[in-house]
Amino acid sequence: MLGFAKGLGYTLKQLSQKKVTHMYPDVPIQMPSRFRGIQHFSPEKCIVCNQCARICPTECIQLTGKPHPDPEKRGKVIDTYDINFEICILCDLCTEVCPTEAIVMTNNFELAAYSRDELFKNLEWLDDNNTNVREEN
C-alpha cells in the first residue's frame, strides 16, 4: 500500500507545479537560431551551379537557368526554382553545399495547407519567404 501512497503523493505535488504547455498558436514559438525551417531563396545570388538539386536526397528541387541577360557577362542566371515540400525533408544539405548562400534556411516552419498543390513552392514564394533568415549556414 505504501507504493500507492507515494505515487498519490507525487501526483498531488504536481498540482501546483509550473505548467509546461506552450500556448502555441496564440504565442508563437521562438525557434533557436540554427533551426531548419522553410528555405529562403535569393535569385540574385544564385549561379545555377545545380549543386543543391544534385545533393538533395529526395530530389525535391527543380531548377532551370537561362543565359545572362547582359550579353557582356558570362554565366547563367536562375529562371525557375521550385521546391516540392511534399517530399522535402528539411535535411539542410542544399544550404550546406550552396557556394553563394543563395538558398538558406529560415526559422519559419508553418507549412500546413489544405491542398497538396500549395506545398509546391516556386521561386517567387521562396524569395518572399525572407523573414527569420538563418545567419549561420
Binding site: 500507492f4 501526483t11 498540482l15 505548467k19 504547455t21
Partner: protein, 335 residues
C-alpha cells in the same frame, strides 16, 4: 417534501412530480458536464498541462461543445450488429443509473422516495447496468467489444459481492436499510471511523463497479481499444458516458450517506452551514479522489482482478461483518 410526495395523485401534483424529476435530471446533467470538465482540469494540472481552456472562459463550455458534437454526429451501426440489442444497450446502461438516485436523501428535506430498503434498492438496480454493458459488447459484433463486455460482466458481478458485504457492517450498526436512518445514526460519529475496514473495501469495490482506474479493464483503451462501446458513436456513445458519470455521482452520494455522515456537518457547532453544502463538499471530495487515482494508477490485470475480489476483498468484508457483529453483541451484553 415526503408528505407532499405521498399525496393522492392529481393532475396538478403529478405535473409537479414530473417537473421535479426533470429538475433532478438537469442538476445531474450539470454535474456530469462539470465533472468531466473538472476531471480533465485536475488530471491536466497533475500532468503539468492546463486542461481544457479554449471553449468559453477558462474552457468552461468545453463539455457542452463536446456533447453538441456528439449529438450532431452520424449514428453509425456495424452492418452485422444485432439491431434491437444495439439500440437497447445504452438505455439499459443509463436508465438504472438515473433510477438509483430516487432513494438518495441529499438533505433531510430533499429526497424523492423514502424506501425502507433504500440500500437494497440501490444495489439491486445498479446490477442492471451490467446487462447493458454485456448487451453492448455482444450486439456490436466486434471482438474487442466482446472481450470488453465479458470482462466487465465478470468484474462487475464479482465486485458486487464484496460491495454489498462491506455495507452489512453499517446496516448492523444502524439496524436499518433506510438511507435516511443510516445518516441520522451518524450524529455522534461518522461511520468511517467504526467501519473503517468496511469503508476501504467499499471504496475499492465501488471503483471496480464504476469501471474506473485502476479497474478500467472493460474499456482499457490501450488493450481493447475502448472495450464494450468501441462501435458506438454519437448519442448512443454519449449515453454510455453519461451512465458512467451519473454512476459516479450515485456512488459518491452513497459513500457520503453510508460512511461520511450525509448532510451532517463535521461538528455540531458548524450546523449553521446548510446541509446541502456539506453534502456537496463531501461528494466533491470523493469525486476529486477518483480523478486523483486516475492520474496516478496503472491498470490491473484481468486475472489478478478476479482473484483480488474473491480472495482479497471478500474475506476482508466477511471479517468486517464478523467483527461488527461481535462488537455489537458485546455492547448489548450478549457475552
Amino acid at each position: 417534501m415526503l408528505q407532499w410526495l405521498n399525496q393522492a395523485p392529481s393532475l396538478w401534483n403529478t405535473t409537479l412530480f414530473a417537473i421535479s424529476a426533470v429538475l433532478l435530471l438537469v442538476v445531474l446533467l450539470g454535474f456530469v458536464t462539470y465533472a468531466i470538465y473538472f476531471e480533465r482540469k485536475v488530471i491536466g494540472w497533475m500532468q503539468l498541462r492546463y486542461g481544457p481552456n479554449r471553449v468559453g472562459p477558462l474552457g468552461l463550455l468545453q463539455t457542452v461543445a463536446d456533447v453538441a458534437k456528439l449529438l450532431i454526429k452520424e449514428d453509425t451501426r456495424p452492418k452485422h450488429a444485432d439491431k434491437a440489442l444495439f439500440a437497447l444497450a445504452p438505455i439499459l446502461a443509463y436508465a438504472p443509473a438515473f433510477g438509483v438516485l430516487a432513494v438518495m436523501p441529499f438533505t433531510d428535506k430533499i429526497q424523492f422516495a423514502d424506501l425502507g430498503i433504500g440500500l437494497l434498492y440501490y444495489v439491486a438496480l445498479s446490477g442492471i447496468t451490467v446487462l447493458g454493458v454485456i448487451t453492448a459488447g455482444w450486439a456490436s459484433n466486434n471482438k474487442y467489444s466482446l472481450i470488453g463486455g465479458l470482462r466487465s460482466a465478470a468484474q462487475m458481478i464479482s465486485y458486487e459481492v464484496p460491495l454489498v458485504m462491506s455495507v452489512v457492517g453499517v446496516v448492523l450498526m444502524t439496524g436499518s436499510l433506510n438511507l435516511r436512518e443510516i445518516v441520522l445514526a451518524q450524529q455522534d460519529v461518522w461511520n468511517i471511523v467504526p467501519q473503517f475496514l468496511g469503508f476501504v473495501v467499499f471504496m475499492i469495490a465501488a471503483q471496480a463497479e464504476l469501471n474506473r482506474t485502476p479497474f478500467d479493464l472493460p474499456e482499457a483503451e490501450s488493450e481493447l481499444v475502448a472495450g464494450y462501446h468501441v462501435e458506438y458513436s454519437g448519442f448512443r456513445f454519449a449515453m454510455f458516458m453519461l451512465a458512467e458519470y451519473v454512476y459516479m455521482f450515485g456512488m459518491g452520494t452513497l459513500i457520503t450517506i453510508l460512511f461520511l455522515g450525509g448532510w451532517l456537518p463535521i461538528h455540531p457547532s458548524l450546523s449553521f452551514i446548510p446541509g446541502i453544502v456539506w453534502f456537496i463538499l463531501k461528494l466533491l471530495l470523493y469525486v476529486f479522489f477518483q480523478f486523483w487515482v486516475r492520474a496516478t494508477m496503472p491498470r490491473l490485470r484481468a486475472d489478478q482482478l478476479m482473484s483480488f475480489a474473491w480472495k482479497g476483498l471478500l474475506p476482508l468484508a466477511l471479517f468486517n461483518i464478523l467483527l461488527t457483529a461481535a462488537v455489537i453483541s458485546y455492547q448489548n451484553g450478549m457475552f
